[in-house]
Amino acid sequence: MAFQNLPIKRKMMLVIMLTSITALVLTAASFIAYDLVTFRQSLVRNLKSISTIVAENSTSPLIFDDEDLATKNLSEFKVDPHVRIAALYDADGNLYARYPANAPDSDFPPSAPATGEYLESSRLIVVMPSVEDEKVAGTLYVESTMGAVYERLRLYGGLAALIIFGSALVALGVSSALQRRVTEPILALVHSARMVSDRTDLTVRAPKTSGDELGLLTDAFNLMLTRIQEHTEERKRVEESLAFLASIVHSSDDAIIGKDLQSRVVSWNVGAERMFGYTAAEIIGQSIARLLSPDRPDEESQVIDEVKRGEIRHFETIRLRKDGQPVEVSLTISPIKNAKGDIVGISSIARDITERKRAQEALEQHASVLREQAQMLDLANVMARDLDSRIILWNAGMEKMYGWAKDEALEKNSHDLLHTRFPEPIENILAILHRDGRWEGELVHFDKGGRQLVVASQWVLHRDPQGKPAAILEVNNDITERKRAEEEVRRMNVELEQRVEARTAQLTAANHELEAFTYSVAHDLRAPLRHIDAFSRILAEEFAASLLPEARRYLEHIRNGSRNMSQLVDDLLNLARVGRQELRRRPTPLRILVDEVVADLRRETQGRHIEWQIRQLPTVECDSGLIKQVFANLLSNAVKYTRPRQKTVIEVGSAKANGGTAIFVRDNGVGFNMKYVDKLFGVFQRLHRAEEFEGTGVGLATVDRIVRKHGGSIWAVAGVDQGATFYFTIPGLDEHRTAVPAIS
């Protein structure tokens, strides 16, 4: 048996016994060890003293060679039974005499060993010289067995065993007397505990016999018993009150149902059996779901979520009996909490309100229908239908509009009757209706004769006094004619647009043709012009002498005219080229273009005092050749129209205009009347007479075309004698973050 399972009585005795025996054994062992050591020393001492005497007495036989006497001397060792052999060696180290006299040579060392004591495991050897008058006469060799030691060990061992045995007996007596004092209170405690557990007698108390830890344990045990007793009595009281409550539940007419959090039934009273037809045995452990009405699938889970948050819900709903019949019930759902306040289940108390509900509903429906009839009967085309779209109201307006008599319409499904086409899925419409309580839209209906009607329809959701949707009121107006008119207008608009588009296309084509024509004419005009110019120059230079002054003047007119025409043709060709040419955009610093143009104008501006104010200009993605033409035109115009000024100021820069950035060229020249600003950019449109300022009237038209071709715009601001400012924009100007002053 393992030590742990021994009775505590045995354990204590074992401990005491083992302790005392261990102490005794250790003591005895150390005593014996000590004694053996000292005994061995005395053994050596004894042997040495005997040997000394023998050695002393053996000098004369050795010196005077008396072997008999030597042998006789050695026989002195007889007194010590442990001396096994002894010998005398003469001065030369030869074996001389031996003891016992008949011992064989092989027992002895062949010659005298060195003086000393040799303690070996089983024998003790003493070798000493035999000395007379300071002269060594020979050597004595004595060999003693250690038998004495072992004998003594045996004796002591026996003695120690006896003492230990005796002590153990005494310890047994003492320990059994002592352990009783310790174990008795424990055994008493055990006995009391057994009484409690075997007989479930909680009045038992353990006797307290000591004030030590065991006494404390006994007190604690008794206190625990008292507590358990109190607890048990308390529980009995609780059970009684529970039984009382249970009988109330049992006898209630209401169905009282307990569910766990997974909606499984855990309790089911007689009221519930009566109301739903299931016995407790059938339903307990099953899900409550089988009671739920299939048309309210989410109701239970919603309610349970709320109840799990600790709310108590009262509502009315429909439940299914075992036989499949619906039962209208008023429900109170509340959480069941445990002692810690955690929700561990749900209680449902249901009361059958089927009859009450049915009566009430009928009354309400009737009343509300009457009310609505009264209000709307003659005002509009009104129908009412229940939630399944069955027509429950059909007024005179409806009869007239659709051709269906009231009797024909009532109880029919309204959508089937009228072949309703919805502008969006009916589910969406119903969702809006339930959300907002109303819906408006256009429907397509067919009347009794199969004629298609477009109606403006207004739906209103009618709710019962509980707020539950009960019926839908629908008011329809025939808008078929209006729709037809609208459709006509739209069709005509489309037609008009198409016509405009066609015209525009024709116009564009004609423009292109015109342009091509202009180009070819201008091109073809250059050759005859060059002829006219060349021959009139030859005439003027070669035949000047033979010509009358008048003829020379006319000739000069011809040459001026042909030069102007040549310029005009060039300008027109340029204008046409701009229209045809593809743009070659690349990043261009505008400042460089302006500087080049100013340099090109130097010949024209020679002798004039012109102050060029060229501000910071951005780098823009553009066709640099064309934009250079823009600057060339604008700047040469500026130079041209400032000619009458004593001091000319021409400014080029960028500025904020019309919400973007624009490049401007400003001069202090003669300007123009803003009344004619529209004509400024037309071909051959001139605001000044050619006698005042020369020009073909093509330049600004070209500028306008270049700017527009870049996707930009151009405009001018001026006043008569107040100078002019030309602005143009091209895309990409705003991308450059250059500080630009706003136009002042």
Partner: protein, 176 residues
């Protein structure tokens, strides 16, 4: 010269032949070793440095062997000196006296002359102890045995150790 050498070696040979040399040596050793077992009265020596003198009276039976042994011997803390005497009158100081067999006829006179003097007398003459000699050496079974006259030793103020006494045969002096 050659003759003299031959004669010398002959004499030596003859001497050796008369008595075995080992016997001579053993006897010399005995003579010297008696000193170890004998206590002389303090008056026997003048001072501590005086040698122990072994005297030989009459014909010397030991020859060189005794001298050889005596030369490097120290007995009872004293060097040993061997002196040879022809007549008893020559003996002035002597601690051990060997009385040769040649003196058999004069033995009683010699004993008388040394009476009460601390001299350990040793002899091989038959019945010497009964005539008052202290130790007599005799051959027995090829070994030398001792006879001791304790009375004479006492008379000479000498103490013989018991260890020596146990070796020998104690003899009472003859009543005359």
């Amino acid at each position: 010269m050659v003759w003299a050498a031959l004669i010398g070696s002959f004499i030596l040979f003859a001497a050796r032949a008369s008595e075995p040399s080992s016997d001579k040596q053993t006897k010399s050793k005995f003579l010297i070793n008696f000193a170890q077992f004998t206590d002389w009265p303090a008056t026997a020596f003048g001072n501590d440095n005086e040698p122990l003198i072994i005297g030989i009276l009459g014909t010397d039976p030991f020859g060189k062997s005794l001298d050889k042994l005596a030369d490097d011997e120290v007995l009872r803390g004293r060097h040993v000196q061997v002196l040879r005497f022809r007549k008893v009158q020559e003996i002035r100081i002597c601690h051990i006296l060997y009385i040769s067999e040649s003196e058999e006829r004069r033995l009683d006179r010699i004993v008388q002359a040394l009476k009460e003097k601390p001299v350990l007398t040793v002899s091989e003459i038959e019945d010497a102890v009964t005539h008052g000699v202290i130790i007599q050496m005799r051959a027995e079974n090829k070994k030398i045995r001792l006879s001791i006259n304790l009375e004479s030793a006492k008379a000479a103020h000498l103490t013989l150790k018991s260890k020596l006494l146990r070796l020998g045969q104690i003899v009472e002096p003859a009543k005359k």
